[in-house]
């Protein structure tokens, strides 16, 4: 059953995505949410149309005289680096195993979730670092076993979560596939994974999470350098 997401990036974040100012990790969250959410797709399309209208309004700045002739001479060159990678046949056939995750996340991961090098983080909780973004920004997949209670923690920065599989809840509500959840330093919670299956989230953080009880931050503080 397809259920459309009920928790969305706020409108400011959609605008930052559409105007190009959002960094790659958060943009990956937003773009993947768009695959789940026709409503936000529509909003981004409208915001891009505003960008198109602004482009038409630009005061033209003359280009040098040899710009067009130079370009015309290059039109017959093979597309090569000029064209972004097309969603080609190879990727389409891989999709058979990977349909679980939509683009663009699927290409970033490049393998089925089960084949990823999961690292244990806490009891019942594993993670994989996707290496997107510059420290202290971290982009990870977090997998929480069904029914696991995530230890109570606070946030020293912003955390942006996209639910990819399963679901979880905290006092704010229930979060399911496609939902985007923002945790900021005002959030101190102990989320609980739903019982039916493991919960997998795409998580972007710009600072470590901190356990409220226990040793300290459980994400390696070294990432803050």
């Amino acid at each position: 059953m397809i259920r459309n997401p009920t928790h969305h990036p706020d409108r400011e974040m959609l605008l930052d995505y559409a105007d190009g100012s959002l960094g790659e990790p958060a943009a990956l969250v937003v773009a993947t949410h768009l695959a789940f959410c026709p409503g936000c797709r529509q909003q981004v399309a409208d915001l891009e149309a505003i960008g198109g209208a602004f482009l038409e309004e630009e005061e033209p700045f003359p280009v040098s005289a040899d710009c067009l002739p130079g370009l015309l001479a290059r039109l017959d060159e093979p597309a090569g680096a000029a064209a972004a990678p097309l969603p080609g046949a190879a990727r389409r056939s891989e999709a058979a195993d990977l349909t679980y995750l939509p683009e663009p996340l699927r290409s970033y991961i490049g393998m089925p979730l089960s084949a990823l090098p999961w690292q244990p983080l806490l009891e019942g909780i594993d993670e994989v670092d996707l290496g997107v973004g510059r420290p202290p920004m971290r982009t990870r997949l977090i997998r929480v076993a069904a029914g696991t209670v995530f230890p109570r923690h606070g946030h020293t920065g912003m955390e942006l979560n996209l639910v990819l599989a399963g679901g979880y809840h905290d006092p704010r509500g229930s979060f399911q596939r496609g939902d985007v959840v923002v945790d900021d330093p005002s959030i101190n919670h102990s989320p609980v994974a739903d019982l039916r299956e493991s919960c997998v989230c795409l998580s972007v953080t710009d600072a470590p999470l901190c356990l409220v009880e226990g040793p300290a931050c459980f994400l390696k503080p070294s990432i803050r350098s």
Binding site: A31, Q42, D46, A53, E56, E58, P60, P87, T99, P104
Partner: protein, 201 residues
């Protein structure tokens, strides 16, 4: 008159004149896609290249880099024209997104995560949304008029959002406008433009 070509930057293109702001641009991209028309491509170049250069320089590229990027953008227009779908976005919007992504790639050295509308894993549109892109050729003319009707402080912030490579929280700090005010102005502006877009159909 915003949106209309001036004689200075496009002497050869007066034949298409005012048709530019509407479906004329779409037709030219389609001519590139279907007929590999170099003359249509040259017309697109004459209209968009000076505007793209201006946009890229506003976002901090120097003239040399801006012109390099303009060439990259227009090359992509040539090579990817067959992926242009006027039912999804008009030519200006399509080219804006190409320029935005090229700039992110070249200046920020980041990949740009983009949705793939042909992805089988995509959750489809509800059926009733399919009629939205009627009259897409008129969209920008209507949008330009709508932007012109926004209160100045809203229009100015909205422009800044597209012309600054930073989240608007940073814009707020730099302009000395409280973040809440920036957000509410942007929200009002966007809501109003989206409403006008819908009403026009």
């Amino acid at each position: 008159m915003p949106g209309n070509p001036t004689r200075r930057d496009m002497p050869e293109t007066t034949i298409i004149g005012r048709a530019h702001a509407g479906s004329g641009l779409n037709d030219m991209v389609l001519a590139v896609a279907r007929k590999r028309s170099r003359s249509a491509f040259a017309l697109l170049f004459n209209y968009f290249a000076p505007r793209l250069k201006s946009y890229l320089m506003r976002l901090g590229a120097d003239a040399g880099l801006a012109e390099e990027l303009v060439q990259d953008v227009m090359l992509q227009v040539w090579h990817r024209a067959e992926t242009f779908d006027p039912a999804q976005a008009n030519a200006s919007t399509w080219i804006f997104t190409i320029a935005r992504n090229k700039r992110i790639d070249a200046v920020r050295r980041e990949r740009r995560p983009e949705i793939d509308l042909t992805d089988p894993a995509l959750v489809p549109e509800p059926v009733e949304a399919a009629d939205r892109t009627l009259e897409v050729g008129q969209e920008n003319a209507r949008l330009n008029a709508a932007i012109g009707s926004l209160p100045n402080e809203q229009a100015e912030l909205l422009r800044l959002a597209y012309y600054e490579d930073k989240p608007h929280s940073t814009i707020s700090a730099e302009r000395g406008i409280p973040l809440g005010t920036v957000k509410s102005r942007l929200r009002l502006a966007v809501d109003r433009l989206r409403r006008l877009l819908r009403e026009g159909q």
